[in-house]
C-alpha cells in the first residue's frame, strides 16, 4: 500500500511539476554543477556532472524510441520493448540479470513515454564496471525471448486492468483521446488489451533494432566520476553499439479535438475533473510567459488563484492545480481537481470563472512578482539530488536548450510583464475550446 501510495504521490508531483520540469528546475554555476557535453563516435550525446560527495553514479538514458512510433493497432509496442530490455540478452537470462543487479544493490529500470523511452540506473561507484557492462548489454543485445514476452504481456494486461482503479488515470486517458483524436498521443502508451495481445516477437525485435541506436540517444551521467573517465568507460562498454537511422523531427499533431464534455460513470465519492485543451510547444517563445501566467492561475501551489477560490475559500477540493505541459511541437493545458460528486458543477463553474478572470483582467504587480520570485528563486534548489540533475541534463539536451540554460533562465522569467501575462492568457487559454472530463457518480455530479 505504502509504495502504491508513494507512486501515486510521485505521479501527482510529476503532474504538478512535470510541465515545469525545465522551467522550475535547473542547476546553476553556483550550485556547483558544471555540466559537460560531448558527442561520442557512435553519435551518442553524453552529458555529465561530476559530484564527488557520495560514492555513487546515476545514469539516465533517453532514446527516440517512444510510443509516438507505434503504428495504429500496434499500441504498446514501444512500451513492451522497453519493459523487456532487462529480461534477456544474448549472454544472460532475465533471472541472471536481476540476480546481478540485486546482488550489487543497483537499480536498473526502463520505460516509455510518447516521445522517448528511458533507461535509468543507479549504482555504487565500486560497481560501475559491472553496471555499465549490464547497461551496454541490454541496449545492444536484448533478445526478447518468447517466454519473457508472454510474461510481460500478462503484466501489461494486468496493468491495463489495474489502471481502471485510478479515477485520475481514467480521466487523463479520456482527455488525451479527446484532445488528440488522430494521433498516437491520444492512445495509451501501454496499449489496449487487444493491441497488446497482438504484439509479436518479430515486431519487438524490429522496433528494438531500429530505434535503440546511439545516434538516437542522450546519455546523462551524474556522480562520482569525471567526464573523461565516463567517456572512456562508455567507449569501452558500448564499442559494439552501431549507429542506425537518425532521429526524425518532432511529430506534430495535425489536429486537436473540439470542445466537449466527457462523462465516465463510476461508483466513486468524488468527481475527478479535468478541464483542458491544447497548450504550447516547448519551443514556443511564449513558453516562459505562459509558465508565469499559469503559476498565478493554478500552478503556484498554495499561492495560486485556483487554490484560493476552490480550496481555501470554499473547501471544495483538497487538490486543485493547473499546468501547461510542453513537449516538442505540442503541449497541453489542464486544470485538475477532485470534489465530492455533489459539488462538481460548482467547482467547474468557479474554475472556469478563474480562467475567464485571468484573461479579462490584468494580474496585480504583486502576483506577478510573487510568481517570478518563486520561479527564479527556487530554480537552483530544485536539483537537489544526483538523480534530478541527471534527468534535468537529459531534458536540456532533448529540448536543445543548451548547457547555459540555467544562466539564461532567470532573465527569461524576469522579463515577463503584466502585458505579456494578459496577452498569453488571452491567446493560450481558450474557454470555448475546453474539453471537460468528469469521472464519478454521474447521477450526483450532473447538472442540477
Amino acid at each position: 500500500m505504502t509504495r502504491h501510495e508513494l507512486s501515486r504521490m510521485k505521479k501527482i508531483v510529476r503532474a504538478l511539476l512535470g510541465c515545469c520540469l525545465i522551467a522550475l528546475s535547473a542547476p546553476s554555476a553556483q550550485a556547483g554543477l558544471v555540466p559537460k557535453r560531448s558527442v561520442l563516435d557512435n553519435g551518442m550525446v553524453l552529458l555529465t556532472s561530476e559530484q564527488r560527495t557520495l560514492p555513487m553514479v546515476s545514469v539516465e538514458l533517453l532514446l527516440d524510441a517512444g510510443a509516438r512510433h507505434d503504428a495504429a493497432g500496434q499500441e504498446g509496442l514501444a512500451h513492451l520493448t522497453a519493459r523487456l530490455l532487462t529480461y534477456g540478452t544474448r549472454r544472460h537470462s532475465a533471472l541472471q540479470i536481476s540476480e546481478t543487479l540485486d546482488f550489487i544493490g543497483a537499480s536498473l529500470s526502463a520505460g516509455s513515454g510518447y516521445d522517448t523511452a528511458s533507461v535509468s540506473m543507479t549504482m555504487l561507484k565500486k560497481d560501475l564496471a559491472t553496471g555499465l557492462e549490464l547497461l551496454a548489454e541490454v541496449l545492444t543485445s536484448s533478445t526478447f525471448p518468447q517466454e519473457e514476452i508472454d510474461r510481460q504481456k500478462q503484466s501489461v494486461l494486468a496493468a491495463i486492468k489495474a489502471r481502471e482503479e485510478s479515477p485520475g488515470d481514467i480521466a487523463q486517458r479520456r482527455f488525451a483521446a479527446a484532445l488528440y483524436p488522430q494521433s498516437p498521443y491520444g492512445r495509451p502508451v501501454e496499449g489496449t488489451e487487444a493491441s497488446v495481445k497482438g504484439l509479436q516477437q518479430k515486431g519487438l525485435r524490429e522496433f528494438f533494432e531500429r530505434n535503440y541506436r546511439p545516434n538516437r540517444a542522450i546519455l546523462s551521467v551524474v556522480g562520482d566520476i569525471s567526464h573523461e573517465e565516463i567517456t572512456l568507460a562508455f567507449n569501452q562498454a558500448f564499442r559494439s553499439w552501431q549507429k542506425g537511422e537518425p532521429s526524425g523531427g518532432p511529430l506534430i499533431p495535425s489536429s486537436h479535438g473540439a470542445a466537449q464534455t466527457i462523462r465516465v460513470n463510476k461508483a466513486l465519492t468524488q468527481a475527478n475533473i479535468i478541464l483542458g485543451h491544447q497548450g504550447v510547444g516547448r519551443e514556443n517563445p511564449d513558453y516562459y510567459a505562459v509558465q508565469v501566467m499559469n503559476y498565478i492561475l493554478g500552478g503556484g501551489g498554495f499561492s495560486s488563484r485556483a487554490m484560493d477560490s476552490i480550496r481555501n475559500e470554499r473547501g471544495l477540493a483538497y487538490s486543485v492545480y493547473s499546468y501547461f505541459s510542453a513537449e516538442r511541437g505540442r503541449g497541453e493545458f489542464q486544470l485538475v481537481m477532485q470534489t465530492k460528486n455533489e459539488t462538481a458543477q460548482e467547482a467547474i463553474r468557479i474554475a472556469k470563472e478563474e480562467i475567464r478572470r485571468i484573461r479579462e483582467q490584468p494580474v496585480s504587480e504583486r502576483e506577478l512578482d510573487d510568481a517570478k520570485d518563486y520561479l527564479t528563486g527556487s530554480f537552483p534548489l530544485r536539483l537537489d539530488t544526483n538523480r534530478k540533475v541527471a534527468n534535468f541534463l537529459a531534458q536540456v539536451e532533448f529540448f536543445q536548450l543548451g548547457l547555459e540554460y540555467p544562466d539564461r533562465y532567470p532573465d527569461l522569467i524576469r522579463k515577463v510583464t503584466r502585458a505579456d501575462i494578459e496577452r498569453v492568457a488571452k491567446r493560450y487559454l481558450q474557454p470555448e475550446k475546453l474539453i471537460t472530463v468528469i469521472v464519478g457518480n454521474q447521477q450526483k455530479s450532473g447538472e442540477k
Binding site: 500500500m1 505504502t2 509504495r3 502504491h4 501510495e5 508513494l6 504521490m9 501527482i12 508531483v13 553556483q30 556547483g32 559530484q51 557520495l54 555513487m56 532475465a94 533471472l95 536481476s98 540476480e99 543487479l101 540485486d102 546482488f103 550489487i104 544493490g105 543507479t122 555504487l124 510474461r151 500478462q154 503484466s155 494486468a158 496493468a159 489495474a162 482503479e165 479515477p167 460513470n265 463510476k266 461508483a267 466513486l268 468524488q270 501551489g301 498554495f302 480550496r311 481555501n312 475559500e313 470554499r314 473547501g315 471544495l316 477540493a317 483538497y318 477532485q338 510573487d370 520570485d373 518563486y374 527564479t376 528563486g377 527556487s378 530554480f379 537552483p380 534548489l381 537537489d384 447521477q443
Partner: protein, 441 residues
C-alpha cells in the same frame, strides 16, 4: 496527513520508511533552555537547507471519537498568527524560492521548508511564530473541515488499497491507537470542534514537546544563534500527557474482507513486530529484503515472475515507530487469480523461511542492498532530515549510528529465528480486498 499534497505518511498503521540512514555521527545536538532539541547535520552538496519542526504528537495521542484531530490541527496551522495572515506562510516561503509543506503520522506532526542558505532564517522565524501564536481562526474552521473530508475521499474512500489498509489496521489493533486512521474517520472529522483543536494545540505544541531537524548547506555557527533567537523566547509548556497503551497479545488470526468497487483483488498480511528498540529489528529488516527486495527476492520471484499470481508483491518492515509496529506482506493479484491460492503460496514461502536457513549468498545480497540504499539515501538532504526525525521520535537519533553494524552482525540463524518468532499466523491480521462491480448509478 496531508495538508499538502507533496507527500504524506497517511499510513498511520503501516508507516513506511526506507532502510537507509544518514551518518548519525555527524549530527550535532543542542538543547535550548526551554527544552527544544535541535539536531543539525551539515551537508554542502546542494545549495539548499531543509528546516523541519517535529512535534511529538500524532494520531497516537488522540482519544476515541476525536480521530483526525492531530491532522486537522496540522491543516489549521496554516491559518495564520497575529503577524502572519491566513495562508500567508506558504506565500512567503514560495516568494523566497522555498518549498514548504507539512504532514502527520500516528507518532508525529512535522512542518518543513527547503530554502537557500540566505533565506532559511525566514522559515525559522515563521515556525517559531506558529509554535506559540497560531490563531486557528474560527472562520477558517468549517471550510478546512470540508477540505479534509475531500482529502479523505481522495486518499481512502475512492482508493481501494488504502481502504483495505485502513480496515485491516482497525482490526490488527484492538486497544492501541494505531488502530485509527491518521486522517480520521469521516464522522469523527465531522464532529470535531474548533475548541478540540485549541485544546490539542495548547497541550502539545510547546518547545519541550518538539525538536528541530536541519540538514543541508548551512553552518552550525551561523544557524544555531538564529534558531535560539527565534525559539528561546517561547516558554516551556506543561509536560504533555504520555500515551501508555499496550496492545494485549493477539491470540489467533484475524481476518478482514473488504468488498469494494475495484479491478484486482489485494491481500495484506500484518504481523505484530517490535520497533527498532528491539535487537531483532535489524534481522527483521533483512528478512523483508530477502523476501521482497528486488526481482530476485523470494516472494517476487515465485509469485510475480514464476507463477504469475501477483502483479506486485512487497514485504515491509519499519521499526521507526514509538510503539511496537508491524511486519507486512502485501500483494495485488493478477486478473483471474484467487486470493486463497495466493495466500497459500505466500504462506508456503513464509513457512520455508521459518524452517530452513537462507543461503549465505542471499544474506549477503540483502546486506548489499541495504548498504547501497544507505548511500543512495544520502543523496537527498530532505531524506536525511526525515531519517533523523523518525529515529528521534522512535528511539533517539543516536540509534542510527548502530544501524549498519547491526545489519552486518545479523546471521542466517537470526533471520530464521525472527521469522519463526514474528511471522506467526496466530498474531497476524489478513485483509482481502474483493473487487465488486457496483451497479453504476
Amino acid at each position: 496527513m496531508l495538508r499538502r499534497f507533496f507527500f504524506t505518511v497517511l499510513l498511520g498503521v503501516f508507516p513506511a520508511i526506507l532502510a537507509d540512514f544518514s551518518h548519525a555521527t555527524d549530527v550535532r545536538e543542542f538543547v535550548l533552555d526551554n527544552g527544544l532539541k535541535v539536531l543539525l547535520l551539515e551537508d554542502h552538496k546542494s545549495p539548499a537547507v531543509t528546516f523541519q519542526v517535529w512535534y511529538r504528537v500524532g494520531s497516537r495521542n488522540e482519544k476515541d471519537g476525536k480521530s483526525g484531530l492531530a491532522h486537522f490541527l496540522e491543516h489549521m496551522m496554516f491559518k495564520g498568527t497575529p503577524t502572519t495572515k491566513p495562508e500567508e506562510y506558504s506565500r512567503i516561503i514560495a516568494k523566497n524560492g522555498g518549498r514548504s509543506n507539512a504532514f502527520t503520522t500516528s507518532d508525529v506532526t512535522v512542518y518543513f521548508a527547503t530554502m537557500s542558505r540566505d533565506k532559511i532564517g525566514i522559515e525559522i522565524e515563521l515556525e517559531a511564530d506558529r509554535m506559540a501564536n497560531a490563531l486557528l481562526g474560527e472562520s477558517y474552521f468549517e471550510p478546512e473541515k470540508k477540505v479534509i473530508q475531500e482529502e479523505r475521499r481522495l486518499r481512502t474512500d475512492d482508493n481501494p488499497g488504502s481502504a483495505l489498509s485502513e480496515a485491516a489496521g482497525a482490526v490488527a489493533y484492538m486497544v492501541h491507537p494505531y488502530r485509527r486512521p491518521v486522517i480520521g474517520w469521516m464522522d469523527d472529522i465531522q464532529n470535531l470542534t474548533r475548541q478540540d483543536l485549541v485544546d490539542f494545540y495548547k497541550l502539545y505544541y510547546a518547545p519541550n514537546n518538539a525538536y528541530v531537524v536541519v540538514t543541508g548547506d548551512f553552518s552550525t555557527d551561523e544557524i544555531l544563534p538564529k534558531i535560539k533567537a527565534a525559539f528561546e523566547k517561547i516558554p516551556r509548556g506543561a509536560e504533555p500527557p504520555k500515551v501508555r497503551v499496550e496492545e494485549p497479545p493477539q491470540r489467533g488470526e484475524r481476518r478482514v474482507i473488504l468488498k469494494k468497487e475495484a479491478e484486482l483483488p489485494f491481500i495484506l498480511m500484518y504481523y505484530h513486530a517490535p520497533n527498532l528498540k528491539s535487537s531483532d529489528s535489524d534481522a527483521l529488516d533483512l528478512l523483508s529484503v530477502v523476501l521482497a527486495g528486488g526481482r530476485s527476492s523470494r516472494l517476487y520471484h515465485e509469485l510475480v515472475y514464476q507463477k504469475r499470481l501477483a502483479r506486485g508483491i512487497d514485504a515491509d518492515y519499519s521499526g521507526a515507530s514509538i510503539d511496537p509496529t508491524g511486519f507486512s506482506v502485501t500483494a495485488q493479484l493478477m486478473p483471474g487469480k484467487e486470493p486463497a491460492e495466493v495466500e497459500r503460496e505466500i504462506d508456503g514461502l513464509l513457512e520455508k523461511i521459518k524452517s530452513e536457513l537462507v543461503s549465505e549468498r542471499e544474506l549477503q545480497k540483502a546486506r548489499n542492498q541495504i548498504e547501497s540504499s544507505f548511500i543512495f539515501a544520502q543523496d537527498s538532504i530532505f531524506g536525511q532530515a526525515m531519517k533523523i526525525g523518525y529515529y528521534e521520535a522512535a528511539a533517539g537519533w543516536r540509534m542510527m549510528d548502530a544501524y549498519l553494524d547491526g545489519i552486518r552482525r545479523v546471521s542466517r540463524e537470526d533471520i530464521r529465528r525472527v521469522a519463526k518468532q514474528y511471522l506467526d499466523r496466530d498474531r497476524r491480521t489478513v485483509g482481502v480486498l474483493l473487487p465488486t462491480k457496483e451497479n453504476n448509478p
